[in-house]
Amino acid sequence: MTLLSLSHIAKTFDNGVEAVGGVTLSVREGEFLSLVGPSGCGKSTVLRIVAGLLKPDAGAVEFPQGRPEIGFVFQEPTLMPWARVHANARLPLDLKHAPDAGARAAAALARVGLSGFERAFPRELSGGMKMRVSIARALAAGPKLLLMDEPFAALDEITRQALNDDLLKLAREDGITVIFVTHSVYESAYLSDRVVVMTQRPGRVAAQMALAPPSTRDAQYRLTPQFAQSAGRISAAMADAARVAA
């Protein structure tokens, strides 16, 4: 079932920068889709258009089954520094006056491994923990679609891998569709069911590829020829896209 379809999305900013030059893409319910491409290729712009935070100049964004609850995770943790962890996690629920906001936020924090940190302030947490709060906040409202804009780019490799695994597990448990923007070939190869490679600005879809599903996604998977092959295909497609643009 198609959750989302984009047709010929284009966006030029007021300063004349043509960010997105006609992106057509459909996203299936429950899939983990990565959007990869060089910096400044309009990946984030596509994500913000999907979220409804930006209006495209041309093209259409359609949700055939109706607009789902959307969660958004930014590159920065983007927490309210004046609010404790639990108040941050329950923000989306509070904004819509959900009656059980406290319990649902606490449950979401427990799922990302932050039980016991509810009363901490963001500045007391490490970068990885802040990102976990940001994910808990996105999950607390029970999204069907999770949009993630290079969420782990600023983290060290070990933290990033731990968060990759937790994200996969949580998304699968809840049956969440994820659109994940990254410029890391390995991260996209590890996480994705499908990878969409974009060209340089103005961003267009250069290639799409389904990755063969591994039996398990864990540390062992990174050592398999299958993983290396997936990463190789993505790399090659990105190199091709760069050549076309140049």
Binding site: I70, T78, W82, L95, F121, P122
Partner: protein
């Protein structure tokens, strides 16, 4: 280190007062020019009741003006934030009011309010002086919220009120508080300026005590009033700094750093 921070300036103060005492006595300076510290104390105790009542008047004027300035400036800053048109229309006039020296407008305000109500005029003058730093800082602060947080609020369908209360006001708090600290000092200056300008009438605050003692060459009493005035200024400043610390120290970097 912390102890030295208190001990060093205190020692300097004591030394300066001792030197002052010595020089005045040694050279026999006339008391109506510069009284020795030992002569100021009687000036203080002899007029204790009068000084305390003047102090109380000045405090009332200062705090009332501070309260009006805070409430008015916050309200106007929020209106500016809600309507760019109102901000464009009014902000230049707020600047005009700010850059025109208050001493020069004070006589006019006194005439309008009336010399028989100097305190009311003083409250008005002090309010105008204290208004601008809160207005400009709050206006700036209300625009300072993180852009991504703003997007998050939009994504989750926050109302204008929710965005103001849950995002913009907390984000503006550090800005507002630094404006408030400046305004606290200015409110006191405004209160004194009003009484200086009035010169007579029904004024009974510390500003009036200073004018009167100057005319009568009661310099010891004048020094006592001056000392009280700086004590009030210092107390106000530390009170507001403490409030700032209370509100910010848990989460804001500036407050965390200034703790040392």
């Amino acid at each position: 280190m912390n102890a030295l921070r208190i001990v060093i300036p205190l020692a300097l103060g004591v030394a300066a007062i001792a030197l002052w005492q010595f020089l005045v006595r040694h050279y026999g300076v006339a008391e109506y020019l510069l009284p020795a510290p030992s002569a100021i104390w009687p000036g203080f105790t002899e007029s204790f009741a009068e000084l305390m009542s003047a102090l109380w008047t000045t405090l009332q004027v200062t705090w009332l003006a501070f309260f009006f300035a805070f409430a008015g400036a916050m309200l106007l800053a929020i209106v500016f934030n809600l309507s760019r048109t109102v901000e464009m229309a009014l902000f230049p006039y707020a600047v005009v009011l700010q850059v025109t020296p208050m001493v020069s407008i004070a006589p006019l305000i006194l005439i309008w309010v009336g010399y028989e109500r100097v305190e009311a005029a003083a409250v008005l003058i002090a309010t105008i002086v204290a208004f601008f730093p809160i207005l400009s800082n709050a206006t700036l602060g209300l625009r300072a919220a993180d852009a991504n947080l703003n997007d998050l609020f939009r994504l989750h369908g926050a109302s204008r009120w929710q965005r103001l209360v849950r995002l913009q006001l907390p984000a503006a708090l550090p800005y507002i508080l630094s404006g408030v600290k400046v305004a606290g000092g200015l409110a006191l200056i405004g209160a004194i300026v009003a009484e200086f300008v009035a010169g007579s009438g029904t004024a009974t605050g510390l500003g009036w005590v200073i004018t009167e003692t100057g005319r009568n060459l009661q310099i010891a009493k004048m020094f006592a009033a001056l000392a009280l005035l700086s004590a009030v200024g210092v107390a106000n400043f530390y009170l507001l700094t403490f409030v700032e610390w209370l509100l910010l120290h848990r989460w804001h970097e500036s407050a965390i750093k200034t703790q040392n």
